[in-house]
Amino acid sequence: MARYIVKRFLLMIPTMIGVAALIFFMMRVVPGDIVELRMSGESGFASKEQIALERARFGLDRPLWRQFVEWMWGLARLDFGRSMWTGASIGSEIQLRFLLSLELAVLATSVAVLLAIPLGVIAALKQDTWVDYAVRIFSIAGIATPSFWLGIVLILGLLIIFKWLPPMVYTPPWVNPWQNLAQLIWPALAVGYRYSAVATRMTRSAMLEVLREDYIRTARAKGLWEKLILTRHALKNAMLPVLTVVGLEFAFLMGGLVVTEQVFNLNGLGLLFVQSVAHRDYTLTQALVLLVAAIFIIVNFLMDLMYAWLDPRIRY
């Protein structure tokens, strides 16, 4: 197991280098750069001299290979550089938003898991009854409804019915847990619903499959208590594909909630991501892509470990 963990960590290095190289060159293929955007954005005019000065300041006048080598050398020293747009260190830009994104991802995952597992199990147990149909309608509607649309509906509902809006500024949970929850619960519900819909369907189909397995029949034939069969034998085994979905969605939530964050005005990594791309903030975009890639790799790794715990037959 230890060998497997070390191997997985070592594999992260070439993956990250590949991601880094890919994003570095992809960003530069896109027309327009940060200097053009910054200097010509609103007034529609900037002198050539001014643009050349700024380009030199950001090092964008140097050959591409040199820019890449310098950036990679920085990465090797864990120096991600500074945001080209704000001038602040990349670390501080990410640190500011990381907690909010993590908290939202955890809350949305909790909403999803709390809805999906009971609903999926019930639907499987009551297959082809009205309960199953109701759960299926609920989950199909969740998959078909974009989170941002549900977010807008939630906001308008709160505004029109209760004349109330969630707070617009993030308050950490240790400062004011109530205010924190008042802000984050709505996007968590909007995102968690869609997320739960996917997980519900996965739980239902995995449960149906497992419930038809020989070992379940054997357990029932032995006269084992039904509740025990379901929780210890069926659910635990059915959780493997559900865990994959939950893990991947969690990783996605860490940087992918672009529109939902805009709708709820959340200062998270998703919004930072889209702003950095829109501003052609090369250094920040590169760092964010690396961060999201690292999150995916780590989440995948943790899921592999959980597979082994859920199914003792799996060995690394």
Binding site: P31, E36, E42, S43, F45, A46
Partner: protein, 534 residues
């Protein structure tokens, strides 16, 4: 009986008098600024750095102007946004030949760290703007080409010596970007202000949480005694327009100072009724059509003129102003401002006539004469919904009325400028936003040597007219040159042409008082005159 009538009349008169007095008193009480409260506003953009001398976005001026003063400012109650008034300067004199401007500074002005502000600070700030050292960016350096030197003969006097007289110079010193920085700080680090705040303004800096908000609190030692009225302000950065509207509608924000779309205004008014006050103004931003003079047939002024003649600007204004942030029919200056062309004169220019059928018949004749009947081309437009997309669709429809087929190609916003600069277009949407309506600031882009002359027109007559108007010290003489410039640009040569002026719509909480909309969203953000009625 007669007695009774007289008493009745007297009673009515007394009641009416008391009502009038009461109403006047109540109106006066309403207009008397109230102290206290925190103004909450939304900013759709965020400051890239804290240095206004180098930045170009309202994301800097909206949250940060309250920390600073400028030498002069634009009168915060002037709806045209063109009247310079004193800020740090108390008074000024202009030499008869217009070559020397001398300003007396206020006494007792202090930076937020308690140190006094003197002419040394003003000189250091203007030297940074006009003569930046190598490696230091200054976005408005070219606006002060006329300045030869800035002098500080004594602690309370600052003097600008010019190379040539410039009629717009005084107004240019009221630029909302020219914050006065502290000389000692600049002497140590010219770029200190990119990441720090230290001004003399009505509000002290409290915090900036990136991506979230900016907070300022009242400066108790502000030099303008009795101001500011607010205890503080909180600017929240919200990029999504639906979230901005929701913030105002949910009374989480009093105002957003840039502007909303007509539909947003209507939804806010219908939801909040008299809790919302709407202020509107022509906006110092305009969409123009650039025609590439190096590509045929746009080197032919008959074709360019036909493109402008095809537009029914007056009907377009009625239709588009319902769905987009455009409205006024304008020439080279914002309507209602001092140098704008009166509507009757404007109607004499190509494409501004009231008889659209005659204009379009003329357009067809010109196209035929130029041998390009059934002309078709690609029209490049910027990938931003407001107001580019509706205006682009309108243009295509108008051109179709004279037999022109234009295929619209939308270019992603960030790639748009490089495309214009490369000249990689036949006909494209061009745009300009100014911070003060002033010909010297607005017109240089049309000159032959300008980097922003994307159509690459070359016209020495036009260049000469620009210089003449800039140096004309008599307003009437200047107007004459400006009219000639406009006629040359939009009628005789049609190097480019205007679509419609943007229209600024600010629906804000009725609690917000002491703020007046101007044509520029870069102006009037110091908040020293703003107060909350409850």
């Amino acid at each position: 009986m007669r007695h009774a009538n007289r008493w009745w009349l007297l009673s009515v008169a007394a009641v009416a008098f008391m009502t009038l007095v009461g109403a006047a008193g109540s109106a006066l009480a309403q207009d008397k600024p109230r102290y206290g409260g925190e103004l909450q506003f939304v900013v759709p953009s965020e400051p890239p750095s804290y240095d206004a001398h180098r930045e170009e976005t309202f994301g800097v001026t909206h949250p940060m102007s309250p920390h600073y003063n400028t030498l002069l400012r634009v009168d915060p109650f002037d709806k045209t946004g063109t009247k310079p008034v004193a800020d740090l300067a108390e008074s000024w004199t202009i030499a008869k030949d217009g070559m020397v401007y001398t300003f007396k500074l206020r006494q007792g002005v202090k930076f937020h760290d308690g140190t006094p502000m003197t002419s040394r600070d003003v000189k250091a700030s203007y030297d940074k703007i006009i003569f930046p050292p190598p490696g230091v960016g200054s976005s408005r350096k070219s606006a002060y080409r006329a300045v030869e030197v800035v002098e500080a003969p004594d602690a309370q006097t600052i003097r600008f010596r010019l190379k040539w007289p410039e009629s717009s110079f005084l107004l240019n010193l009221a630029s909302p970007w020219n914050w006065i920085y502290k000389a000692d700080i600049l002497a140590k680090d010219m770029r200190w202000y990119e990441k720090n705040v230290m001004g003399t303004g009505p509000f002290l800096f409290v915090e900036h949480v990136k991506g979230s908000h900016w907070v300022g609190k009242k400066n108790p030692d502000y030099w303008d005694k009795g101001k500011p009225y607010l205890d503080g302000y909180r600017a929240t950065f919200i990029s999504s327009s639906s979230a901005q509207v929701a913030a105002v509608r949910g009374e989480r924000a009093h105002i957003q100072f840039r502007g909303f779309a007509p539909a947003d205004r209507d939804s806010l008014v219908s939801a909040l009724g008299n809790k919302i006050t709407v202020q509107e103004s022509p906006w110092d931003c305009i969409l123009m059509v650039a025609m590439n003079h190096s590509k045929k047939p746009f080197d032919d002024k008959r074709v360019r003129r036909a493109l402008s003649l095809a537009l029914d600007r007056y009907e377009g204004s009625k239709a588009l102003s319902k769905i987009a942030i455009v409205k006024e029919v304008a020439g080279i200056q914002v309507p209602g401002t001092p140098w704008a062309t009166p509507p009757d004169e404007l109607a004499k220019l190509a494409g501004y006539g009231r008889d659209i059928n005659a204009s379009r018949a003329e357009a067809k004749r010109l196209l035929k004469e130029a041998g390009v009947e059934g002309l078709s081309f690609t029209f490049k437009n910027r990938g931003i919904p407001q107001p580019y997309e509706p205006t682009g669709i309108w243009l295509i429809d108008q051109w179709r009325q004279v037999g022109i087929t234009a295929k619209q190609e939308i270019i992603e916003a960030s790639a748009y400028h490089p495309m214009l600069k490369r000249g990689d277009f036949e006909v494209a949407m061009d745009f300009q936003c100014g911070f003060i309506v002033e010909p010297d600031l607005d017109l240089p882009r049309f000159l032959s040597d300008s980097d922003a002359n994307y159509g690459k027109s070359s016209d020495k007559v036009l260049d000469d007219l620009f210089v003449k108007q800039a140096r004309a010290t008599d307003p009437e003489e200047r107007k004459k040159y400006l009219r000639a410039f406009e006629k040359r640009l939009l009628d005789e040569e049609v190097h480019t042409f205007m679509t419609l002026q943007w229209h600024r719509i600010i629906p804000h909480s009725s609690k917000v008082k002491g703020w007046t909309v101007t044509p520029s969203h870069y102006l009037n953000n110091m908040l020293d005159t703003v107060w909350l009625s409850e």
